[in-house]
């Protein structure tokens, strides 16, 4: 008797619980399925680009629906690298993006430190000036900036690009917010010990903001590496092109446009891969940096 009752209750218990579990499982499975479908859509252009770069053009035109190439034509990359100096373009982009990033990190830190730790006349005006520049679309400045570069004899130079991108209003804005969170007692203590302001910034403030500096650095680097419109206006010499301008030239070149998809895809892959690798290494920092601090682009 007792056992049957126990079995009964167990059955009731099970029958009560089983559908719950399955519903949850089905929901879970549906969620993963849906996310996988969306994820596939998001990365599909990258896959399509990469496999396209390993096909022959004949294959592309005869089997346009095939994702995987019949043979992996790695030689496409060699031919693409030979037909335009993509290595040089990537080097140029790295150089410009790296120096711009270093400058932005340095001058935004200095400026944000002055805004948060100094008292001086015109401080509010200074901050308003930065705030106001925040809403300025870059296009409004292009024509006169171009003339300024011409006057400085910096047209068609990487130095001109670096200098003209060196003021990051966003950088000031972001670092100011981070610096405000640092407890002033540490800074006061260092001041009493007679440390110079620069020393305090370097030895006390910056080490506490490594995550923020890394996020700012990565975002500045990526934006400058990818930038196209302004560099395409400033740079005229082919050898000085950044990667975005370089692949655009290759894309519209005679005999390529709409015909030579395999080599165009190889060129796009060459442009995209360094950034995807950088992102794979740093994705944790970038994703949490944006999600935790609420960064504007």
């Amino acid at each position: 008797m007792t056992t049957s009752i126990q079995e009964n209750t167990q059955q009731i218990h099970l029958s009560h619980k089983t559908p719950w579990l399955t519903l949850k499982h089905v929901q879970q499975a549906a969620k993963y399925l849906f996310l996988s479908a969306c994820g596939l859509f998001m990365v599909f252009p990258f896959l399509w680009m990469f496999f396209g770069s390993l096909k022959t053009n004949d294959e592309i035109f005869s089997n346009p629906l095939e994702l995987l190439p019949q043979h992996f034509h790695w030689y496409n990359f060699v031919e693409t690298m030979q037909s335009a100096p993509f290595g040089l373009y990537i080097f140029n982009s790295f150089e410009v993006a790296l120096f711009t990033t270093l400058l932005v990190l340095a001058n935004s830190s200095l400026f944000a430190y002055a805004l948060t730790r100094f008292t001086f006349r015109g401080k509010t005006a200074m901050f308003s000036l930065v705030m106001a520049s925040y809403m300025l679309p870059a296009a409004v400045t292009y024509v006169p900036s171009y003339i300024v570069l011409a006057k400085l004899d910096l047209l068609d130079t990487h130095a001109g690009l670096i200098l003209s991108n060196a003021a990051s209003v966003f950088g000031v804005f972001y670092l100011r917010q981070v610096f405000l969170k640092i407890h002033p007692s540490l800074i006061e203590a260092a001041r009493i010990d007679g440390a110079s302001e620069l020393k305090i910034l370097w030895a006390i403030v910056l080490p506490q903001c490594k995550a923020a500096l890394t996020t700012l650095g990565l975002i500045t680097f990526i934006t400058n590496y990818n930038s196209y419109m302004w560099p395409s206006l400033v740079i005229n010499t082919a050898d000085k092109n950044l990667i975005a301008t370089g692949i655009r030239q290759f894309f519209i070149a005679q005999g390529n446009y709409g015909l030579n998809w395999s080599h165009i895809m190889a060129a796009s892959t060459i442009a995209v891969v360094p950034l995807l690798i950088l992102f794979m290494i740093s994705q944790k920092i970038i994703l949490s940096g944006i999600a935790d601090n609420g960064i504007k682009e």
């Binding site: 969620k31 996310l35 969306c38 998001m42 252009p45 990258f46 399509w48 396209g52 035109f61 346009p64 629906l65 340095a106 001058n107 935004s108 200095l110 400026f111 100094f118 001086f120 000036l129 809403m135 300025l136 679309p137 870059a138 296009a139 409004v140 400045t141 292009y142 024509v143 006169p144 300024v148 060196a166 003021a167 000031v172 302001e197 620069l198 990526i222 590496y225 990818n226 196209y228 419109m229 206006l233 990667i243 301008t245 692949i247 655009r248 709409g258 165009i264 895809m265 796009s268 442009a271 995209v272 950034l275 995807l276 994705q283 994703l287 944006i290 999600a291 609420g294 504007k296 682009e297």
Partner: protein, 294 residues
């Protein structure tokens, strides 16, 4: 004497901290902005050293210029077509990926990845997908019996492609913002609603949506501002064509300034872009000040 020295030292220090940023800021943002406004009242053609002051002519001419009005309309259509799906899809992804579970960071990274890649390069890939003769899109449509579309030869379909590419790139970034907003909602509110026996749908409508509304509004505005400044994907995919049907204000500015060298009209167009952006930003600040839940 000591205090004068001290004062000098302080000025030098201030100069040292402020000038590395102020120099490029003044040289490439503030000064050019003022110059742009000035040039917009002239008929300067870039090549000749002289120019005439034409007053409001460049602005007055705009109102009768069908190309400007078309560009203004295209900018509006493009912004709305990009922003509404971007924010809606971004919120959807954020709700799905807000809580940590096995694979959540992987999906976040995947959805965000288009943002970090060069717009020029990925637009080239999309231009192949939508190629009229051998593009994947037409081949897939062919499978279900739809005749192939010449995507870039009609205004609507060309705009659709650019909108799609822009949403694809912007959605991950919007999602991350929503995740940060969702994580700030105190869990006590949800617990209370669970005790009250609210359904998931009511919980979403009555708790989640109102509480993320300031973020939603912020993202709407910022995405509109970004859409107004979109250039790379237009340059690769449509060059403003066909017949100017995908030409936005920014693209029109580019053509006036760097193809027609009509600097007066170009800078006047840029000033209009600035005014629209400034209006949206002020709206953002104004609403942000009086509409914060947490």
């Amino acid at each position: 004497m000591l205090s004068v020295n001290n004062k000098m030292r302080q000025y030098w220090q201030l100069f040292f901290f402020l000038s590395p940023l102020l120099l490029p800021l003044l040289l490439f943002w503030v000064l050019p902005f003022i110059c742009s406004i000035y040039i917009s009242f002239t008929d300067w053609d870039y090549i000749s050293p002289t120019y005439d002051w034409v007053g409001m002519d460049n602005y007055r001419y705009m109102l009768d210029d069908s190309q400007f009005l078309q560009a203004l309309n295209n900018t509006l259509v493009f912004s709305l077509a990009v922003v509404i799906p971007t924010v809606a899809i971004g919120l959807g992804f954020a709700l799905l990926l807000q809580k940590r579970f096995a694979g959540s960071s992987f999906f976040r990274a995947i959805i965000f990845s288009p943002w970090i890649t060069p717009t020029v390069a990925v637009s080239i890939v999309w231009s192949w997908v939508f190629d009229s003769k051998h593009g994947l899109a037409n081949e897939l449509l062919g499978l279900i019996g739809v005749p192939s579309v010449s995507w870039f030869e009609h205004g609507n379909t060309a705009m659709f492609v650019v909108v799609l590419v822009t949403i694809w790139q912007a959605v991950g970034w919007t999602m991350l913002f929503f995740i940060s907003a969702l994580n700030k909602i105190p869990s006590s509110i949800y617990e209370a609603s669970l005790i009250d026996g609210c359904s998931a749908w009511t919980r979403f409508l009555k708790i989640t949506l109102p509480l993320v509304s300031p973020t939603t509004f912020f993202l709407l505005i910022v995405n509109i501002i970004n859409a107004i400044q979109a250039f790379d994907q237009f340059q690769i995919l449509t060059q403003g064509g066909p017949g100017g049907e995908t030409r936005t204000l920014l693209y029109w500015f580019y053509q006036l300034a760097f193809q027609q060298y009509d600097m007066g009209s170009a800078t006047a167009t840029a000033v209009i872009i600035f005014l629209i952006t400034a209006l949206l930003t002020s709206l953002n600040v104004w609403i942000g000040k009086r509409w914060v839940y947490y």
